[in-house]
Symmetry: C2
């Protein structure tokens, strides 16, 4: 008898996974190692930015009242009493009709309240003249103008990108508190699998899912232990899974989750006492994708089919990993696009089609990356998004508006919406 | 006298940089280390995919002619002569009304030309019955259906992403020829700069550009040597720049490119005999961005202003690095969005504004990330795109359609179009 499994909607599967996420804890690391990590503390302005009134231009710092009445016919002369390069301070406050030559980024000297840009002045012996009056505050960047001390600037749970690093550096965060990174286990199952370096032999194929998942983890900066490939043998598989889950923070398996005679993962979950969250998702490819939980660890049972494996990782594993690290935007960004090709197949389950989106003058267009059978390994290497075609009996025509999910996007979104 | 520089359009600056790119050469690396690298050889199908006729389902392999005439009233019985798991082969060809039980991915046995899915059959003692006829080829994935031996699948110059790795694995590329990665030099200039770990003192600020650029390079997987921070001293700076450019493949400096009294980079370029491609770009922030070439190496002179530095890197340095590696899609993807806020400032130069794009039911909306003065360090840590506002005297209003360039996108585009 074939086991009958009840498919659940993709959104429900995602929700079930996210409900079972357990945070992994935090650590303190050097700022320079922090790209791609998830902030475990908010960034608070530790002081005003700028930390002092400063000049945004190269020019002359003056008292604005001294420029009152200046015009083309009434040029007002100023004498320069010194120069302030960025990083230096003026020796003394300026007096009447006095000025400091001042460079971009330098602190405004005492008594000055305006900066004359070099091109707004005419040089003279020992000074310059002005032909227009300046207002109090003109061309000055005020202390605290960009951020006030104590202000919450970035929330915990944000991904650290280069701009975040700039902000952390500004406030002297030489070290930063981030989420630890979970360590993944990877196990490919299937007697048909050869190593990448092996010659092909009849009936066998090379293991492409293992290397691909390592690539998907590398893209996220997540390290892994590889448990190689297991033949379809229940006892051997069980013991490897047991070892792997003990040594890692979560386990990704490929293959063995369908209802075939050698699909042993369901039996392994049962033997280990893992709680199966679902074993059938209303999506194509990857309807057999299974997720189980053992203690506080996930067992992700991805399909052995490469496209399904890829999609299962991006839809279910990736957001879980980000959430384990406290990431608050774990989902792929969504856009609308015009479908670039007819898609006439009936669609009992929501379909995720690898595609390339491009910007055209008539809007975003998404073209399927190739031959879209779920085992088409040639299309897997193309494309930058997944087209989402909701289930339904009708087909889709070129030009129909469809949702797409962006692959390989540094920053995600906080809500699952398809 | 203030030096007068002639600004060139951004597109021209990008074009000048790209014209001066020299490819860096190739190396052979392990497939598992290849994520994010640029392919230096095309991926050719080394064999057909699938490499043999195979079953896409769990079921029974039969001769279709034996199923002729089957119906609900005329069930045709088959006897099962063995089982073929994925990775195994059938012992012998099947004969009349014989079948192999066959698993997903297994090779079709001799004489079989159709696969009956388990749910399309009714089990009997030693076999099963069919109540519908099957066609020649039904439920069979044919040899070469996904790719033919010798077919060019992916061009050299493509970025290696996880799907590319899957394809390489399929064809036994345990090693792959990729572009070498250039090593960057980073030097921050400015007497006003403190180390990130330093306490603030009057007139000084912490160096945020250096750590930010390291983050931007980390994001690209590019390694670097840091030459720390140089005070504004011409001789000292010249000798550090000289050393840095000798030890690295290109140098990024921050600060010192404007026309202030201590902006020494122009003089250093002259002393070294570097060819300055441009020293003024019609963009904000970052109009002082300067690029020079010495031998086959770039000297990128980015502004000391953090937003300008960030933007200069993404617009000019990043595509150059990708092109040095032979990458054929070095530019940020572009989209159209509705401006989420008024922008009333006059705009003599094309303006790049850090922003967050989000999908809304009425389309893509792009909201400036914060206070958009070019020195606003608080906005640098937010946003996932740059809004592009072409130069012009009119302002822009909420809802105006504007171009945006996506930041942190794994795959780029081949043309610069803004």
């Amino acid at each position: 008898m074939v086991e009958i499994r009840k498919p659940i909607p993709v959104a429900e599967a995602v929700g079930l996974v996210m409900e079972h996420v357990k945070p992994i804890g935090t650590e303190i690391i050097d700022l320079e190692q922090s790209y791609g990590r998830v902030l475990a503390e908010p960034i608070i302005a530790r002081h005003d930015v700028p930390p002092f009134d400063r000049s945004p231009y190269d020019g002359f710092a003056i008292r604005s009242l001294d420029s009152k009445g200046a015009s083309g016919n009434n040029r007002i002369p100023f004498s320069v009493i010194g120069e302030i390069g960025a990083g230096y301070l003026g020796d003394k406050p300026i007096g009447e009709k006095e000025a400091y030559r001042i460079m971009t980024g330098a602190q405004i000297p005492g008594n000055a309240d305006a900066v004359v840009m070099l091109e707004q002045s005419s040089e003279t012996e020992g000074g310059f003249t002005l032909r227009k009056p300046f207002e109090d505050g003109e061309n000055i960047s005020y202390k605290g103008e960009d951020a006030k001390e104590g202000e919450l600037l970035i929330e915990a749970g944000s991904l650290i990108h280069p701009g975040t690093i700039a902000l952390l550096a500004t406030f002297g965060y030489a070290q930063v508190k981030v989420a630890k990174r979970p360590v993944a286990g990877i196990l490919s199952t299937g007697t048909e699998l050869l190593e990448v370096g092996d010659e092909l032999v009849p009936g066998k194929i090379r293991n492409s899912n293992g290397p691909m998942i390592k690539g998907q983890l590398n893209r996220m900066g997540i390290s892994y232990r590889s448990y190689g490939m297991a033949v379809d043998d229940l006892d051997a598989c069980t013991s490897i899974v047991k070892q792997a889950i003990a040594e890692t923070d979560f386990l990704i398996t490929t293959g063995g989750v369908s209802v075939g005679d050698y699909d042993y993962l369901p039996a392994i979950y049962e033997r280990l006492g893992a709680k199966v969250l679902f074993n059938k998702v209303a999506m194509r490819p990857g309807s057999v994708t299974t997720v189980a939980v053992l203690g506080n660890k996930f067992l992700f049972g991805l399909s052995g089919n490469p496209s399904a494996c890829f999609t299962g990782f991006e839809l279910l594993v990736r957001p879980a990993i980000l959430a384990i690290m406290g990431g608050t935007a774990p989902y792929m960004p969504r856009m609308r696009a015009k479908l670039g090709e007819d898609f006439t197949k009936p669609n009992p389950f929501t379909r995720f089609i690898r595609a390339t989106w491009t910007f055209t003058e008539s809007g975003i267009q998404a073209v399927p990356a190739g031959f879209n059978k779920s085992n088409a390994v040639s299309s897997i290497a193309r494309g930058n998004c997944l087209i989402v075609l909701p289930s339904g009996t009708r087909g889709y025509a070129t030009g129909d508006a469809v949702d797409i999910l962006l692959l390989g996007s540094e920053q995600g979104v906080s809500e699952w919406t398809v």
